[in-house]
Structures are given as structure tokens and as C-alpha cells.
Amino acid sequence: MVGRNGAGKSTLVHTIAGLVRASSGRIEIGGVPVAGRQPHRIAQSGVGLVPQGRRVFSRLTVAEHLVLAAAPWRAATPGGEGWTVARILELLPRLAVRLRHRGCELSGGEQQMLAIARALLGQPRVLLLDEPCEGLSPDLAARVRELISALAADGLTVLLVEQQLQHAIDVADRVAVLEYGRVVYDRPTVEARVDPAPLVAMLSVAAAVPPPPTNRPAPRLWADTP
């Protein structure tokens, strides 16, 4: 999912996670409608959230995050035997050496790894990633994208919100563009790889055409913490 700032990408993610109430439309997870459910119910039905700004618990240690997030009793993730703390630490060895450090003591990259680990331990069927590479150094961002690709290849459904079109094209099977809360482009990535020109044009600042004003209530963006 790509789009300019303010296009509604984070609102979409928050709506799926239940943090923002949908004003209309449907949200289904594996055929089960979840729109209007409370966030913990949606999480229990298999939605993992890696929010923008990571939002790790600043005063919990890495180990405590993992203990709190672990939900081995839920259905195993597709393509895997279910996420365990041991498997997470194998996948993200950096967390293993930081187990006793608090969330606020971690670097941005480590916080991002922890936020992904926290979401995975809930055994999600759908992983929502809201700009996971934002604010990371290029090599760390590449490492996060590798991880996302590996998870997707394992059979996990990933909804990735990205600012940078090239990154989205690199990892995704399908690219959609959001503009003023509406999907204006939705194609397999193969097409975008062959001819990215229409996508690039759509995302350029010059192409911005505000929609006619509507009287729908503005969505609440309460979760957009820095």
C-alpha cells in the first residue's frame, strides 16, 4: 500500500486493527467479517500490528515484551510450526543480546525488530506493517525488507504500508495506491515492475487532485504517535 502523506494509509491499518471504527465498508479475515470488533478480538482472530513509530513498551525489557506477546495456544501460523520465543530469537539474533534492555534503550532498528517479534508471537494470519523502514539506516531497512519477504514467502499474509514505491515493488505481490482514502490503483507488482511510469506519476506531488468535499466525519488519527 503506497500513497502520499495523509492519503489514509495509517488510518486503513488502524481500521483493520480495530483502533479506528470503520464508517462504511467491510473487513474480512479469512472470510470472517471483523469490522466493528474491538481491537483485542481482532488480534485474537489473527491480526498482528506493527504500528508506525513501532510503539514498543518503553519500560518493559525485551524479554518481557516476548513473554507478554507470546500466545502459543493460538492456531499456528500458515507455513510454520507457530512462533515461539526460541524461533523468534533465532530469526532476530540481535534481540537475544538485548533481552534485559528496556524498550526505550533500544536503537530504532532494534525497536523495529522487537515490534515485529511482538506481532509475530501473537501467531497472526495477517501482519500489518505500517512504514517499518521509516527512520532506519539503509542497511537496516534492507534487513527489515528481507525479513518481510521471508515471512511472506513462508505463507504469511502481509499488508505493508510503504512511503517508497521502489521498496514496495521489491517485496510485494500486489501494489495498491491510496489517495484521499480511496484505492486508485490496484495491480499485481509484475505489471508495476515492467512499467512503473503510471505509478510514479500517480505518486508525484503534481498529480494531487483533491476530491470534492464530503460531509463524512474525519477519521480519528489518535494512534499517530511519533
Binding site: 486493527a17 504500528p51 507478554l68
Partner: protein, 298 residues
């Protein structure tokens, strides 16, 4: 030698009030920690918190007969009754959104008024006498002064309760949930934990702590028609002074209140009626986020 003697004589009259301040402060800590946790974790302003303490106090007055068994029974009954009242409050508060403090205040204040009337109806309008176990009814000599044995033992027991509370918050999964929910309740919900269950758990724990404080503290802040108001007021001052972020802040604030109410009053008897609130105003003027607010926190 003379200087030392003079120094000791100057300190000496204030030793017992200072010790009393520790007992009072620890009592306020155990009583108020539940309110702090409710506010910090579940974002609930519970004005019926003092009533939970009063339940413990009246239970102690009704059951204590001077024996150890009656103390154990009163403790069990007081803790369970106050915890049940906490769960009841959580149920009543379900339709009220977290953070809607005005509605919460109105609802819990109404519950406090009704609860106070029920306690008076059940136990009578007179302040009941509380009989501590006979073995603790005497006094012991502390640094040349006679001091109530019960208070000395209370200090030790309250310290144990405080340490246990610290360990629960630090070491258990429930404690982790509590700390995580103070930080970011939305993300806790996104981990699949029901906010309603957290609310009920926190209010039950707050009730249990207030009930325990009410039973054990009955000889210090005894049951009576204005007990609930006194405890609520002291707890709210703890919230203001200590902030919501840390247990250390709550403990520091409670001990400060204890010393102000005993040592402060002994030092400045004429200022007794407003010393506590003058101290609160001073702290607010200097550090609006409480004594132990974290520096550099965003």
C-alpha cells in the same frame, strides 16, 4: 559531648512522631496504591476507593476479638469483600469509556455515597472500637520512648505487603501487563488482551489492597463515617504528589504524607490543618508532574 547531648535532646521529642509517620505513610501507600494503579493502568478515576478501605475497617471492627485467628479471618473477609466490591465497580464502569473521568467520578462518587450509607446502616453511626490481638496491645520501648507494639509490627507487615506488591508488578505476567498498559493501552489490546479483563483485574487488586489496608490499619485510621473520605483524600494527594508512572513515586509520596501528618504537625502545630495541602501546592508549583516524574520522558 555537650553539643551531642543538646542535639539528641532537640531530635528526641520528634523521634516518635517520625516513627508514626512511617507507619502512617506505609498505611497510606498500601491504601492508595490501588487507586494509583486504577488511574494509571485502566484510566479509571475511582472516587469509591475510600469506601473499599472502609469495608476493610468495618470488617476488622466486627470480627477482631483480640485473638490471632480473628485477625486472619478479618483479613481474609476484608480482602475478599473489598476485592468483590472492586469487581462490582468494574462492572458498573463497563459502559463508561476509559478516560471519561467526569462520568466515572459521578458514578463512583454515587457508589461511595451509597456504600457509605450501607456501611452506616449495617454497622451503626458510631465509630466502632477495634481490638488488636492481645499480644500486640501493649507498648514497647523504642530509644527510650514507649511506642505501641501494634504500630511497630504494622510497619513490618506493611513493608512486606509493599515488597510483595513490587515483586508482583516486576516479576509476574500480570505485572508486565500493568506496566505495558500504563505505557500504551492500545498496543496491549492489539496483543489480544481484553481491556475489560484488565479493568476488572486492576479494580479487584485495588480492592484487595484497600481492604487489607482497612483491616490492618483499623487501629491507625479507624472505621467511621468519615473514614472513606479521609482515605480517598489522602490517596488523591498521593496520586498528585507521586504521579502515575512509578511505584517508587507512590511510596515516596505516601511516606511524605505520613511524615507531614505526624512529624510536620509536631514541628508546626499551628499549621496542622493546612500543612498537607500547602506541601501539595508547593510540589505542584515546582514539579507539576509529581515528585518522581521521569526526567526527559516525552
Amino acid at each position: 559531648m555537650i553539643a551531642v547531648a543538646v542535639g539528641t535532646n532537640r531530635i528526641d521529642p520528634y523521634l516518635i512522631p517520625a516513627l508514626d509517620g512511617v507507619a502512617y505513610g506505609l498505611l497510606v501507600f498500601v491504601a492508595a496504591s490501588g487507586l494509583v494503579v486504577c488511574f494509571g493502568v485502566a484510566n479509571i478515576l475511582n472516587l469509591a476507593h475510600g469506601t473499599l478501605y472502609a469495608i476493610g475497617g468495618y470488617t476488622a471492627a466486627a470480627l477482631l476479638d483480640g485473638g490471632w485467628a480473628s485477625l486472619a479471618l478479618a483479613l481474609a473477609v476484608g480482602v475478599l469483600a473489598a476485592a468483590a466490591a472492586g469487581v462490582l465497580l468494574a462492572g458498573l464502569l463497563t459502559p463508561v469509556a476509559a478516560g471519561n473521568h467526569l462520568t466515572q467520578a459521578l458514578l463512583t462518587f454515587g457508589v461511595a455515597l451509597a456504600g457509605g450509607s450501607l456501611l452506616v446502616a449495617g454497622f451503626g453511626p458510631d465509630d466502632p472500637q477495634v481490638r488488636v490481638p492481645a499480644a500486640l496491645d501493649g507498648s514497647v520501648v523504642v530509644a527510650g520512648h514507649r511506642y505501641a507494639a501494634y504500630r511497630l509490627v504494622f510497619i513490618a507487615v506493611a513493608a512486606v505487603i509493599s515488597a510483595a506488591l513490587y515483586l508482583v508488578v516486576r516479576r509476574t505476567r500480570a505485572g508486565m501487563l500493568v506496566r505495558a498498559a500504563v505505557d500504551d493501552p492500545e498496543m496491549v489490546a492489539c496483543l489480544g488482551v481484553s481491556p475489560a479483563r484488565i479493568r476488572a483485574g486492576v479494580l479487584a487488586a485495588a480492592g484487595a489492597l484497600a481492604g487489607a489496608a482497612g483491616v490492618l490499619g483499623a487501629p491507625i485510621i479507624g472505621p467511621g463515617t468519615d473514614t472513606a473520605d479521609t482515605v480517598l483524600l489522602l490517596s488523591l494527594v498521593v496520586v498528585v504528589l507521586g504521579g502515575l508512572g512509578s511505584m517508587a513515586g507512590t511510596l515516596l509520596a505516601a511516606l511524605a504524607i505520613g511524615e507531614i501528618q505526624t512529624l510536620g504537625v509536631a514541628l508546626l502545630p499551628s499549621a496542622a490543618p493546612f500543612l498537607l495541602f500547602a506541601a501539595m501546592a508547593a510540589v505542584l508549583a515546582v514539579r507539576a508532574r509529581g515528585l518522581a516524574a521521569r526526567w526527559g520522558a516525552t
